[in-house]
Structures are given as structure tokens and as C-alpha cells.
């Protein structure tokens, strides 16, 4: 399946692809209708006020200034609290937990499954029709997590864990976006959500537990060598190759993602090479140095190797 970059409407709230999103649509529709009714009511009252001959002013003030707001505001408070709860989802103790940490300008994703912590980045795979608890954190500034087609929005605040329970109800690829201004490249901080049937989701988790693919061709082997000797391992982890880097996205299966640079470019060799050679131009402010000191063949090799990690 291609990336959401080619897909029109991958970020619409009206896709009906998750419980939170469906509730949001319901809320929007009912609020529009209710405000229309209120508007009609006020117009009617104004009409009667125009024709009335005075008298009962005290009752107008008590009724319109105290009783009416008191009742409407109480109703609205209760309604908004319950709706908000249903949009963020009731906590479900058995639901799988996915820990998502926002960094300036990318997403670290850890699936907690059977006591294992399985790491991926910039692409969030969800099981179909199953409630999942997202633990939303931030490593630096305030970000906000939002997949309009699937769920409501929730802020990611440094030093806090915000929980959001989401249930995806439609298979496919959807687009999410950081929804809180977080710095220079905030608009370039998106991600993709892939909703898979439960069995495929389990297989995906297993693939995260495995070592990265072996380098096969001479060019790929050279690429791996370049990766190991150019300092990439200080920030990036690749299962079975070098597992300590945490400052940048996990690259164990970077070639399997549909997009590069947190949902912003199609995943392919050209963009990979361009990214490594000059990330500062593609994503100003990204916490990765540009590697234009690599020779042409080495640059191509490391891009080819990363592309092969599926």
C-alpha cells in the first residue's frame, strides 16, 4: 500500500475509521443543530419583545439572565465532560499499550507486548477493532497527537504521560499530524497510521522483534559499513547491528515505512540519499547533521542499505 502522500482525504475526520473520530463527528453535527435551534429561539424571543408593551421586566432579567444560563451551562458542562470521556476512550486495563514519544520533529513508537518493548518510529500500526491504550509523552516541548480519521486529539507534554484509548474501525492507511506548534519544522512533523487485521498486527509485532535484514549485495554491505563507521550509530538503532542509539528514529525496518522523515517524503532511495546528504535543507532544525562529507558511492551505498531494511 502506497503512502498517504498519494492519498486524497487521508486526514479527514469524516472517514469514520475510529470510535473517537465518529464521536467527534457526532458532536459537531449535534452542536450545529442545537445552535441553530437556539438561534431560532432567540429570534422568536426578540420578536415577542418587540411587540410586548412592557411589564414583567424583572422576570425577563431573572429568567433570561440567571435561570436560562444556569440550566444551559449545567447541561453543557455535563455533556462536554461525558463526550470528552467517550472521545478519549475509557481506560481498558487489558488493552495493548503503545508508548509514543514526540521529539522535535519525529515520533518514537514502542509497542508493549508480552513483556517485550518493541520499537519502531514514525509509523504507528494498530490492530483493527481492538481498543489500544496510547501513552503519549514528549521529550522536549509540547506536541499534540492527532489522527483525525481515527481519534480525537491529545497534547503530549514533557514530564507527563497522557493516556488516550483509541479503537480503529477501518482497515487502511491514515495520516496523523503534530497539532501543536513545536518549532521550525512543526509542519513537517506528521506520521502514518496503518490499521491491520489482528493476525497481521501480531505478525508485525514479531517482525519488530527480529534482527534487521542481512546486507546481501556488495553495495548493501558497503552501506552497512558506512553506517557503522560514520557516527550514525550514536543516534540510530538497527536491531542486531547496533542497538544503543536513541536520539534518532529506530531504523531497523526503515525501508518498510511508506514515508520518510516523519510522514513527509515517499520512502525511496532518492529521498533517502537526499536526506542523509542534506537533512538540514529538507527539514530545517532537525536534530541530525547533514552528511555531505560522504563520498558519492558511500552515500549511495548507505541509502541502498537502509532501503533494503524491510
Amino acid at each position: 500500500m502506497g503512502s498517504t502522500l498519494d492519498q486524497f482525504g487521508s486526514q479527514t475526520t469524516f472517514a469514520d475509521a475510529g470510535i473517537g473520530a465518529a464521536r467527534t463527528v457526532w458532536l459537531t453535527n449535534s452542536m450545529s443543530i442545537i445552535s441553530l435551534v437556539i438561534l431560532a429561539f432567540v429570534m422568536l424571543v426578540a420578536l415577542f419583545a418587540w411587540r410586548s408593551t412592557g411589564g414583567g421586566r424583572v422576570w425577563w432579567i431573572i429568567g433570561g439572565g440567571i435561570v436560562f444560563p444556569l440550566i444551559t451551562l449545567s447541561v453543557l458542562t455535563v455533556a462536554s465532560a461525558t463526550t470528552l470521556r467517550s472521545i478519549t476512550g475509557e481506560a481498558q486495563p487489558e488493552a495493548p499499550v503503545i508508548e509514543i514519544t514526540a521529539y522535535q520533529y519525529w515520533w518514537d513508537v514502542v509497542h508493549h507486548s508480552e513483556g517485550r518493548s518493541l520499537r519502531d518510529a514514525n509509523e504507528i500500526v494498530l490492530p483493527l477493532n481492538m481498543a489500544v491504550t496510547l501513552q503519549l509523552k514528549s521529550n522536549d516541548v509540547i506536541h499534540s497527537f492527532w489522527v483525525p480519521s481515527v481519534s480525537g486529539k491529545m497534547d503530549m507534554i514533557p514530564g507527563r504521560i497522557n493516556e488516550l484509548t483509541i479503537t480503529a474501525t477501518k482497515e487502511g492507511r491514515f495520516r496523523g499530524q503534530c497539532a501543536e506548534f513545536c518549532g521550525l519544522s512543526h509542519p513537517l512533523m506528521a506520521f502514518e497510521v496503518l490499521v491491520l487485521p489482528v493476525e497481521e498486527y501480531a505478525a508485525y509485532l514479531e517482525s519488530l522483534d527480529e534482527d534487521a535484514r542481512d546486507a546481501v549485495t556488495p553495495q548493501q554491505r558497503r552501506g552497512k559499513e558506512v553506517f557503522l563507521t560514520s557516527g550514525c550509530t550514536a543516534c540510530h538503532a538497527v536491531n542486531g547491528v547496533s542497538e544503543n542509539g536513541r536520539l534518532g528514529p529506530d531504523l531497523s525496518r526503515v525501508g518498510a515505512r511508506a514515508s520518510l522523515g516523519a510522514g513527509m517524503w515517499r520512502m525511496n532511495r532518492g529521498n533517502l540519499a537526499g536526506w542523509i546528504a542534506d537533512v538540514g535543507d529538507m527539514k530545517p532544525g532537525a536534530q541530525m547533521p547533514s552528511y555531505n562529507d560522504l563520498s558519492g558511492p558511500d552515500l549511495r551505498a548507505v541509502a541502498a542499505w537502509l532501503e533494503s531494511l524491510k
Binding site: 517524503w265 515517499r266 525511496n268 532511495r269 532518492g270 529521498n271 540519499a273 537526499g274 536526506w275 546528504a277 542534506d278 535543507d281 529538507m282 555531505n292 563520498s295 558519492g296 558511492p297 552515500l299 549511495r300 541509502a303 541502498a304
Partner: protein, 172 residues
């Protein structure tokens, strides 16, 4: 001296005088004109254009219609520029090149492709013409082994579309 010789001598003299008069008349008329005004030249140009039209009409056959050779030398067979622009976005050329008209293509790894049609060489190694450009897009590393531009697995059809788009990029 015979009669005949005398007659031809006379005729020659008359002819010489006549042509002298005609030439001085022409020069006189020409000299009377304001500087920069060139009635004779203008007449010549008009006559020339008229004759050229006649000649063209005489040899009017499809292959004799005047050709824009520059245009032809930059035409890529089977290439659709519009399709090419889409492919350039899909292959990710924009992460390395500035490509006018392609969204978000502002890379600074390789050369700016603005005005590419007027570039003399491709990568400094191939002359800039359709066949070579298609070759370059398919296998840059064959032509420049140390280049940073990767072989992107571009098919010939795709290369043709992209090349035809690149030839729509004119200099200023």
C-alpha cells in the same frame, strides 16, 4: 574602320551615357532621402520577401516547411512532460535538486535544474541531448562513477517522461 565598327562604337557610347544617367539619378534620389531612410534597401527587402514567398510556394512539401531545429533537438520521443513532473515528485528528485514547477523540490545536494534545457552538459560528462539525458536518468553512475546521484531504478519510459519535463525548463 568599317560601318559596323562605327555603329557599335556609337551604340556603346549611348549605352554608357544612358547608364551613367540612370546611376546618377538613382544615387541622386537615394541622396535626397533623409539619413537612415533607405528607400532602395526597403524596396529590395520587400522584393526579397516577395520572391522568398514565391520560392517557398514552389517547393511547398511537408518536409520543406521550415523547421525549428532547436525545438526538435530537445524533443524526447514518447515523453509526456506532465507525467514527467509527477514522476519527478515520486522518485524523490526534489530532495537533491531544485526543480521549478515540482512541489517541494528545493534540494541542494545536486545542481539546480532551473533552465536545464539550456545547459550544455549533463553532469559535466554527457552532452545535453535527449538520448543522453534519458541514459543519465536511468544510470547516472555508469557515466559518473563517483557521483552522489544514485541509480534510482528508473525505467526507460519514466526517464523519457522526466526528460521531456526537464526540457520545458528554460533559462531566464
Amino acid at each position: 574602320m568599317s560601318d559596323r565598327d562605327r555603329n557599335s562604337g556609337l551604340l556603346g557610347t549611348v549605352f554608357a551615357i544612358l547608364s551613367g544617367v540612370i546611376v546618377s539619378l538613382a544615387v541622386g534620389v537615394w541622396a535626397l532621402g533623409t539619413p537612415g531612410n533607405d528607400p532602395v534597401g526597403a524596396a529590395a527587402v520587400t522584393a526579397g520577401t516577395f520572391m522568398e514567398g514565391k520560392f517557398r510556394w514552389l517547393r511547398a512539401e511537408p518536409e520543406n516547411v521550415p523547421q525549428d531545429w532547436v525545438e526538435i533537438s530537445k524533443t524526447v520521443r514518447g515523453g509526456d512532460p506532465q507525467r514527467g513532473a509527477t514522476l519527478i515528485a515520486q522518485y524523490g528528485c526534489g530532495s537533491c535538486h531544485v526543480v521549478p514547477g515540482v512541489a517541494r523540490a528545493h534540494g541542494t545536494v545536486g545542481p539546480d535544474l532551473s533552465g536545464f534545457r539550456d545547459r550544455a552538459y549533463i553532469g559535466g560528462v554527457l552532452s545535453n541531448e535527449p538520448g543522453d539525458l534519458v541514459d543519465w536518468l536511468m544510470n547516472p553512475t555508469t557515466h559518473a562513477p563517483d557521483t552522489a546521484m544514485p541509480d534510482l531504478g528508473v525505467t526507460e519510459t519514466d526517464a523519457r517522461h522526466m526528460a521531456s519535463y526537464l526540457y520545458t525548463l528554460r533559462g531566464s
